[in-house]
């Protein structure tokens, strides 16, 4: 009870502050033409009441966070029977985890046949971003190179398919590797001039590179049809059969799912390879890693190239899915979105990137119910997620090695 008064006081002060803060923009609406003012006092009251309550919740949550407690204890929701079983230990057995993966995959394959076209389409988009996220994760999560121009490689893939398909009738399956390879070459070309740059300087140069690519696409009409874009790109045919729109939505979903599986497999292999360890060493300390024999030039270029590879591939998928591309799809915001995915999901963690992509892409879709408030909510969710889980949804577990008595080394807990 004696805590109530100071708490109330704190909330009251916060609410007053926010009432002051939001006063001109929320309350006064001016019409500059007729020079009339609309006073919306109701908003002020709403802000006051809302912030009063929210500030209390906010403080409680921050306190909890500071104590390292879980923010929301969900154990009450688990049936009593299961409560004793440690999920971790169940999944730690290879047999169980494999079974779980198989079930998951089967569910994912069945999904488009159960859900409607809309659900299939948005999940396909989300899966495409899973691949993009995993690709960018190589550059940022593993290599530690802040790259803000990822959309350029994505555009390379999309335009490869768009142009070659509409002008020369090139098929999707040839364009897929071709787009990826072209993007890889672009990745290497970009890699050379920026070898010396670090951190934010690297970020801004890659950003600039992507903007240059986009502006060239906008201006060079003969090549890219400029801002009006390329339309009527073929959806991938199923062994020569032209599919209807809902069918090809399912087909594209399955292709994307297969590519996700392949990407996850390859990326995890890469992570544990010599190259992957070189990237991580470079991220942790470039100078030390160089002293240990890591060739930084090769490590950086390969990170850029391999990251770009996946972007190029998804670009082709993208063009096949939307059947229309124009430079407006490859803006800086697109690169930022992919960056959000990997940071929100958990930098460097494969599972994190997958969850991050699903959240970032599907969230605005499911927030459609809130129509005009959707981007407002989206922004606040980004902030809240970062404040309460700064390491991302699924944090990367760092590699650790346990020395056993007989001198053998056992690797554990990758990811």
């Amino acid at each position: 009870m004696n805590k109530l008064i100071p708490e109330l006081k704190k909330s009251f002060v916060t609410a007053l502050w926010f009432a002051f803060l939001t006063f001109p923009i929320l309350v006064i609406k001016v019409n500059t033409v007729r020079n009339s003012i609309l006073w919306r006092w109701g908003n002020l009251a709403a802000v006051f009441v809302l912030t009063m309550a929210l500030s209390y919740v906010w403080r409680r949550l921050l306190e909890k966070r500071a104590r390292g407690e879980r923010l929301f204890d969900l154990s009450g929701l688990v049936p009593a029977k299961l409560r004793g079983i440690e999920l971790k230990s169940v999944f730690a057995q290879k047999k169980n985890s494999r079974a779980a993966l198989a079930v998951l995959l089967a569910l994912a394959v069945l999904f488009p046949f159960v859900a409607g076209m809309y659900q299939t389409n948005i999940v396909t988009t989300a899966l495409m971003y899973v691949i993009l996220g995993l690709g960018l994760n190589i550059v940022i999560g593993l290599g530690g190179l802040l790259q803000l121009g990822y959309a350029a490689f994505y555009a390379v893939g999309a335009y490869t398919y768009g142009i070659l398909n509409t002008r020369f009738g090139l098929s999707f399956w040839i364009a897929l590797p071709l787009g990826a390879v072209l993007a890889t070459i672009f990745g290497i070309i970009l890699g050379f001039p920026v070898l010396r740059l670090k951190g934010d300087y690297l970020a801004i140069v890659t950003l600039g590179f992507a903007e240059i690519c986009r502006i060239v696409l906008e201006n060079w009409n003969d090549f890219s049809s400029g801002p009006s874009g390329i339309s009527q790109i073929d959806r991938p045919p199923f062994f020569g059969i032209k599919l209807s729109v809902p069918q090809s939505a399912i087909y594209l979903y399955l292709i994307t799912l297969a590519l996700v599986v392949v990407t996850v497999f390859i990326v995890r292999r890469l992570e544990n390879s010599r190259l992957g360890r070189a990237w991580e060493a470079m991220r942790e300390d470039a100078v030390a890693s160089e002293a240990m024999g890591v060739n930084l030039t090769i490590a950086k270029l390969s990170a850029f190239a391999l990251g770009a590879f996946w972007a190029g591939m998804v670009g082709v998928l993208f063009a096949a899915k939307t059947t229309f591309i124009n430079p407006a799809s490859f803006t800086l915001m697109e690169s930022v979105l992919i960056l959000c995915i990997i940071v929100l999901g958990g930098m460097g963690s494969t599972a994190g990137v997958i969850v991050g992509a699903l959240v970032i892409i599907l969230l605005p879709e499911y927030l459609r119910a809130f129509t005009q408030y959707r981007m407002l909510l989206y922004g606040s969710i980004l902030v809240l997620m970062m404040v309460f889980r700064p390491g991302g949804i699924i944090r990367k577990v760092r590699k650790s090695y346990v020395f056993k008595a007989d001198g053998q080394v056992e690797g554990a807990g990758h990811e």
């Binding site: 003012i37 300087y201 201006n219 030390a288 940071v343 929100l344 005009q372 989206y378 902030v383 700064p390």
Partner: protein, 302 residues
């Protein structure tokens, strides 16, 4: 193309440059202290402009003289922007002080989305005309329309702000604390500097400058909407990096280089590729000076 044309391009480049500088100064200051690319800085600028618009419209109805309206609108905009900057830091950045740097960046992006949509919903999605708050100067008429009074004001204010900021950072106590915090947070803490306070003050000053920029630039452009902060923010960020992020004279120099490049690129080649010129200059400068024009090249200790 004669000398007169060159001169005109030079002036328009300088105008752009000083506009970028007004925003870039706040950017670079925040970056210097917390190493955060404050994506929402452009939004603070936008909120400053909106606040000034609202205040000026309300005051105009009371029939107050123009110069008083301008002064009051400016002051209120500065106060509100500073308050928004302060609150934003408390909510979105302070809890992330010890988190990975990229997490703070995402938080900033979230904040930027939030503020944009907040103004979109609370005010309007449309462009609104911004009152011409700056009076026309008679003496400029002799120049044949080469310089407008808003341009003159923007030049002057940029210069004044830069000088004041340099003085503040060089000679005051809080300036010293800022420099110490920028160099090494832990050491600053050890010598008794209240880091939280220093960072809060930095955000307040940075945001206040954004508001000054917002009001002046909007009077120059004549219209605002909820999205103006984004593009301005990106350009200012580029300018700040160009000059060496964290360096105050660097931000100003970078802004002028950027503005002049764009202007001459447009004038002598084509505005189709205006941004391309800007980014090519950026890449070239960073390749030869990897930490910007005036940025300190950091020697790595091993």
């Amino acid at each position: 193309m004669d000398l007169n044309y060159l001169l005109q391009l030079f002036i328009s480049g300088m105008t752009r440059g000083s506009i970028y500088a007004l925003i870039a100064l706040g950017y670079t200051m925040v970056y210097g202290i917390v190493q955060l690319i404050n994506f929402a800085h452009g939004e603070i600028y936008m909120i400053g402009a909106f606040t000034a618009l609202i205040v000026a419209t309300v005051l105009n109805m009371t029939g107050m003289p123009g110069i008083a309206v301008f002064a009051i609108a400016m002051v209120v905009a500065v106060v509100y922007s500073a308050a928004y900057g302060f609150t934003m830091e408390k909510i979105a950045y302070k809890p992330l002080r010890n988190a990975p740097r990229l997490s703070a960046l995402i938080s900033a992006i979230g904040m930027s989305y939030f503020l944009q949509n907040y103004v979109l919903l609370a005010q309007t999605s449309d462009f609104v005309s911004f009152p011409r708050l700056i009076p026309k100067f008679r003496f400029l008429e002799g120049l044949g329309g080469m310089l407008s009074s808003t341009q003159v004001i923007i030049f002057l204010v940029t210069a004044v702000v830069m000088v004041l900021l340099t003085l503040l950072i060089k000679f005051t106590k809080i300036g010293k604390a800022m420099r110490a915090t920028a160099q090494d947070k832990t050491m600053a803490l050890l010598v008794g500097i209240n880091i939280n306070q220093v960072i809060a003050v930095t955000f307040v000053i940075g945001s206040a400058m954004a508001a000054v920029g917002g009001v002046l630039i909007s009077s120059h452009v004549g219209q605002i909407n909820f999205y103006i902060g984004f593009i301005a923010g990106i350009k200012a960020f580029v300018a700040a990096v160009l000059g060496g992020i964290g360096s105050i004279p660097g931000a100003v120099l970078g802004s002028f280089v950027l503005g002049l490049t764009e202007s001459f690129g447009t004038g002598y080649i084509s505005s189709d590729y205006e941004d391309v010129f800007a980014f090519i200059i950026l890449v070239l400068i960073l390749i030869f000076r990897p930490s910007g024009l005036l940025g300190k090249s950091q020697k790595e200790k091993i």
